[in-house]
Subunit: 248 residues, 6 copies
């Protein structure tokens, strides 16, 4: 089974962290291809970065499908471009927030998502509402830049730990979801340290991709995820938009 | 990986249907043990049957965990006894309604569950609300007794087809979820026939069990799923209740 | 008028507390029969105990109806087995959480339920949501074992008082609901002490039972509360399940 | 026990219908005083009539409390002026919509309210939402003027029957609530005719009043129902506003 | 363009504050007529005052429409009598809470309303829920009498500032809405002082009135805001009710 | 006052329709600049087109703000890129769906949005939920391609009329909202034809822009709409992303 994992920001070191987590989570027979978007922000922090990351993300998903991927994962906790990717692709597409929230719901009734920056908190709260878990989930921001997670000198991990401590004490959190793809390598250590389930979205999405492919399920093509109409795209996008479509 | 699938009604032929669907869905390395409850109703149709099926179900889950199961599936679409089983067991426990609804949500925005009897419709609607998908899901009853699904002479499959047709025409359903464990063998044929994703809960639950075990995740033991307190159980239940607990 | 009050745990001293509260609340012409379940846990603390208490509870309700009860009350604040009992019985069945929440809603816009253990908090929050009062009600756990309420030496009442104080100060609670049948004798004293309405679920349920019987209303038998189908029940339950049904 | 029933419109013949239903519902020891407002519209059909009925209603409630009533019922299905009356009065105040919806919720999971005019439908839907039953209740308008219910020559009852038939067929209604005080005399006949519970709000409110008074419960006076501040009221209202307050 | 602003309490000095804010907000070509109700309480603090303010309010709106107003504003943050006024009037009617909440939603995702008294908090929370912003808005009470806002010696403004400080620190408020018409003159100073948008409902309502009139939009007269039926109104109200109606 | 209206698709004839509607709605002193995006799809039909329209849209908003626009309108009923534009811009940004839904809420309790294609229905339903009007609004698709609205030979207007007729008959719609910027020229005719308010989002957005600018209100810059962090943007976007940011 071939699964594509797209890092929709352009920072290759983060793609490595993500790819390792994905491979660790994957079944023996699953090949993970982790790619970095070539177009967009170096990190996704808020709505603006999210929007500018989408075209690059869509290119990678279209290319990956053409190259034989059977499912695609969007490795940003804002589930950047998820709906557009689902409409574009013939293969299932999974967001890591969505995957983490749904998997956490199988094992806990109240849990807390710890994300990076305050400006990402409300977008994630909106996702949680969309995924139907709003009453059961709190979102906390550790107030750390996304790229500081890549820097072993930063205090990012300490701030993260501090928010987990608060989540257990004040939110009655039964489990923790790590709210950034850049935290994908921390789940095991934090599980041990805090003695409760700590869920990483990249790993969760790999398992959901395997599950969907395993059952032969893909995005329903009636309704909002129907294949895009063939039409003209103007300007800079004209270079790749038709190519995207021809790939589906 | 060892996964226990419990049929919480006492009809062995249904367990066979369920077991076959589970094995078909499972990964190569996954062993499925499908067991029939020895205590309770021959089919689960409504709240009363559901309640009487729980003790027998809990016994099978406790036994299965003692025998080495790494996850347990409750193969009744009412998710009978799910919360009690989660509190009892040290391994993850998955309901087939929950698994089907969450997997369907990865591939469709509006879908319809087709179940058997009218008296099961509202319990399933309540589950859908609990799982956070109330706005996106319709529940239809085909008005067929559960056990008629085991009888090739009955018109059960025709009635089921008729409701799927209505779901597509009137509910804007993009996908269908089969709302009874006894329908587990029908998903593939109906997918082909109707040309849209048809999801069986037993298969979905197997994949979710593999996903949770694969990531080393199990039920959070803080909060409502904490291990039951050791205490006296009186009457007929005294025979098995302590035994259940000693197994956890 | 004959009203049956079932204590679904097997602790007779708690049945006495409950029976006294019920008799105190009842009209002059109402006879209260308070019975103790003979099968199940000595106290109900969380989902597991709840599930194991249901068969014993259903036996008592079926017996009570056969003996002439005109309404039945389930005297556990988790409203244990309420739906199954409603399907089974020809007489109205009332849960004490449901009764307390609905009566409190006639006299207060924001109120707090104080229950015993943390593991009961989320089940009660789910009930409150089901009863449509989620936005107006807070649930607090006093962190006391249920049976400590029967023990005059315990600090249970002090912890209860402490949570009521917090509810008034922090939740803007206008009234208090006592979230355990074992607190049924405390409502009057606490009302006087705190100077706001304190509502006991057992008393509330007695008044609702009198109201329904007085108007000749009973459970609707269309839909999810339709009389259970006659069918075979296997195993230990075979001893009483048909007997239950023959009583309806 | 003395219970005041206020008809907030000025049509005495409707007060008689209401009073009879109230007396029929009341316990042996309950005295019903049914009064007609002396100020306001002859029938309440929509928001405008509702608003103009409130001052007259408040006068009757204040007078009734001074005269010894232990609870007050507002006998209009819009629950006209309920919040203001609760703030004003020292005795519990009950709306008939509120009482009917809460009592119906003890015996049915899905029910339909049949009211008079289309312009009352949305106000009642708003009440149902406020009372937490929005997901379970449909509201239908029989398209009949309120006062036509008093006229034996009108086709009002036939239209009402027609909507009940639709509710059973199309809404999966398990029970019916009559959505106008002027229908208070019809519940018994319709119950027999349709073979499902038909609930009248006036009767329901009498039982809730008896329940609250029986338990010594009255409106919480912290928060939004705190006693009105003493202050000046100008204009026409100056004649009765202070008098109202002095009565509380 | 002629816009009527009704102060539904009888305190003329507050009408002046309101009128000034309205004129400041209005376009060059907009004439503001600010009137004081002649009937009702000197300030509106809670449900009781609200109800008694409605008849006087309706008179002013009917008179204003007869005199040529093209839109009417109800200048009390409880949106007193809004539905009745909409049914009565042929011109659009705007509540200041509604206007402020909707305008704030264009510029902020989370904001806090600071109102006067605790007894107004829940009515405003109910409005916020009705206007669809419940998940995004907190309501705080500064615990100040409405008329203290008119008194420069009072500490009302300090208490208001203190709640704004808390809203920013604890509610993650991105903007503030002033929850009382009597605060209409404070928005500019508080905006400067706190460095975030502070929205006054009177000003917001003036802009919404201009917007509706500018587009030729007025209240839909199908459904709940249909013109009141012609009927008899008894008692004190008989003096003005027909006159109101004849004006529409 | 200068207001920028961006057509986020690349079809100039639609920009003309939009610009005319905007100018007609604007106050005398308001200058409307209507621009066509130079990058993206020729029409926006579903999630994929929406995503590819965003970069071009953001460029126009950044340019417009630099050129002195005081508010920006996104003239696509999916409110394409609204959150990203709000984060980017220092001026208020208004979506036409948002503006139309909020304005309709001032004049109707139940209304229907009629949009073009089925694949746009669910995105609009999601917007309606986000704007807090989900319970009051129905969305219908007339099953017409967006660009057919530009073609006088097509049957687009007939299909639109047919859905309005259904909305009045079946949805109890009190008003209609036109769910596509390409319908901006039809509101007046349809209002006359159907005799109920018909609201165009472009006009509504112009009035809301005038309202916000008139009160000196702009997007709150705490929280999710805080100014984007300065960072590197790679690939094709590198050409304009920094330029966008330098303009804010």
């Amino acid at each position: 089974m071939n699964i594509l994992v797209v890092n929709p920001n352009t920072t290759c070191s983060m793609t490595e962290t993500i790819g390792q987590a994905a491979r660790k989570a994957a079944n023996a027979g699953t090949a993970i291809t982790a790619v970095t978007s070539s177009m967009g922000p170096v990190s996704i922090e808020g709505y603006y970065d999210e929007a500018l990351a989408v075209p690059g993300l869509l290119i990678e998903i279209a290319r990956g499908e053409q190259a034989g991927a059977e499912a695609a994962i969007i490795a940003c906790f804002d589930d950047t471009g998820l709906d557009a990717a689902r409409a574009l692709a013939g293969i299932p597409v999974i967001g890591i927030c969505e995957a983490a929230v749904r998997m956490a719901s199988f094992i806990a009734r109240r849990f807390t998502i710890v994300t990076t920056t305050e400006r990402s908190r409300i977008p994630i709260e909106e996702l949680v509402k969309r995924y139907g878990a709003a009453g059961d989930v709190r979102v906390r921001a550790a107030d750390i830049p996304v790229l500081s997670l890549e820097d072993p000198q930063s205090n990012a991990r300490d701030r993260l730990r501090s928010e987990i401590t608060s989540a257990i004490a004040k939110d009655s959190a039964e489990a923790i979801v790590l709210g950034c793809a850049g935290m994908a390598d921390l789940a095991d250590d934090l599980t041990r340290e805090f003695g409760l389930p700590v869920i990483d979205g990249v790993s969760a999405a790999v398992k959901q991709a395997e599950a969907l492919v395993g059952l032969g399920l893909s995005t329903a093509k009636r309704g909002p995820y129907a294949r895009p109409y063939a039409k003209r795209y103007d300007g800079m996008l004209a270079d790749f938009a038709p190519q995207l479509l021809s790939g589906t």
